[in-house]
Amino acid sequence: MPRLIGLTGDGAAAEAMRQIDPDVVAAYPITPQTEIVERFAEFVADGLVNTEFVAVESEHSAMSACCGSAAAGARTITCTSSQGLALMHEVLYIAAGNRLPIVLINVNRTLSAPLNIHCDHSDSMGSRDSGWIQLYCENVQEVYDTVIQAVRIAEHPQVMLPVMVNLDGFVLSHSVERLELLDDEEVREFVGPFRPVVDLLDLEHPPALGALVAPEFHFEHKYAQWLAIDGARAVIEGVGREFGERFGRNYGLLDPYRLEDAELALVVLGSTAGTARVVVDDLRERGIRAGMLRIRCFRPFPADEIVEALKGKKAVAIMDRAGTQGGEGGPVFGEVRAALYTRGVFLPVINYIYGLGGRDVPAASVARVFTHLGQVAEAGRVDRAVNYLDLRGWN
């Protein structure tokens, strides 16, 4: 029987890890992820899990240890934030390129400088092209549910890729919310045993992994990797559907809200989607046809599905909790706009960079984005493509 409790996002992630009972966890604490490592270390000390916990000296070592253990056929989980993810950067590509199904829980925090421990997506957006699947959670329940699903997605024989589960630092990691906790047995049954496709310790069938590849074959290796991450779409949907059938909460690549008949649409990742729901409801009561599209799966990028969901709208605002210094607008903006235009869907699209370094995102500010969208829809053209929400000294 599921049990209702109150937990933080970090607590929920740790609880999911306890129930998954991975073979290896190699992790280094960093704010705001620390509580996950602390709690999990307690589970290990209390004998509640059979996990080999590797207390590494850095995140670079954490990801390196994870690569080794996953290659040896061990179910492997780690967690980090911000500078920690940045320090893992080169090893992230090795994990993906070697098709190692590691699960990484990333508590989104901005990157220095200026030094700041609070939320934005600049850490995970910095590794968006590393070959990892990226899922973004809206609330504490979804953090818990997604960590459990991530194991299944990563280890699926057609995928065999690492998965990054993202949750907004402090906003979710340190917020206590109501959570439905599954039975340990239900979780273990759902994730099942890990059957690695490649196992370095399988001496009957000794494989080579991480070999030097000459120019004659490198490109084909990368193409095979692209096929795998593209193909992961169906697996992410399938696992989310199966989770829903078993436990009553469905998950997919996208999470549209009152979007079908909407004229004005907001595209957003992570916890701000919750606030956007409240704003959409409020606008609907006032007769404004507002809607929201939450992108849960950013990698692989569900381009066709996003275009299908947005076509016919009068105007769309794309929210980015990260910038591209020197680029035009944020990363989500760039990709959604490109997906629309290359499919011949030409509608006015604006970008809002928001919430950097933990700036609060009140409902009133989200409502102002819709006000701007209304003006864009009425004019039928974009007045200003890239905008900065609640930035002082800018107008």
């Binding site: 939320c119 907004d168 402090f170 906003v171 340190h174 206590v176 109501r178 009140p362 009133a364």
Partner: protein
């Protein structure tokens, strides 16, 4: 009805714990809840802010509370230093850990009669007498239960017993339960 609470305290007084404890108590009434600190730079003794939302239906907002229904002030020395009434709804409630009479508190806050409800509870004295230490956070939850009805006192007490039973020794648990109940009984509204 959803209730949004903003807590004012100093770092180290246990406001974050109180905000979470109140939220967890609400689960006993099958309510939805959220509790989180204001995401700033917390230091021992510095003014801090935390929030609790309690609602009969799921809570989707993921932002700070800007127009609270209730303000809970855990340290009377914050009055005059921090604008604790900022954004408080016109018919809202302010509960202060305050050693004097509630009429005096109303004057200190500069709140006119009618409109905002003002409540005073001497949580520092209660915790000093019951716990031997001035930790006003648990009595403040007792006072909030009485004044706002956000969570019933029996559920507050039961939650403390269950969630803190393993963390503290039995005499400490009992002392806290007495402090919560005393604050519930002694809080005055003016």
């Amino acid at each position: 009805m959803a209730i949004e609470i903003r807590w004012h305290a100093r770092g180290g007084q246990g406001a974050v714990l109180a905000s979470r404890f109140l939220a967890a108590s609400a689960l006993r009434e099958n309510k939805y809840f959220q509790a989180f600190p204001q995401f700033g730079t917390e230091r021992m003794g510095a003014p801090i802010v935390a929030f609790t939302r309690v609602s009969p239906s799921p809570i989707h907002l993921h932002c700070a509370v800007v127009e609270p229904d209730v303000v809970a002030v855990m340290d009377p020395t914050l009055l005059g230093q921090v604008d604790v009434l900022a954004g408080l709804k016109p018919a809202g409630t302010v509960v202060v850990n305050y050693p004097g009479p509630v009429e005096e508190l109303r004057r200190v806050l500069g709140v006119k009669d009618g409109g905002v409800r003002v409540a005073a509870v001497d949580a520092t004295r209660i915790s000093s007498e019951e716990l031997g230490r001035p930790i006003p956070n648990t009595p403040m939850v007792g006072a909030l239960s009485r004044i706002t009805g956000v969570v019933g006192i029996d559920n507050v007490l039961a939650e403390f017993r269950e969630s803190m039973g393993a963390r503290f020794k039995p005499p400490v648990v009992e002392a806290n339960l007495r402090a919560i109940r005393r604050a519930y009984e002694e809080v005055q509204v003016g």
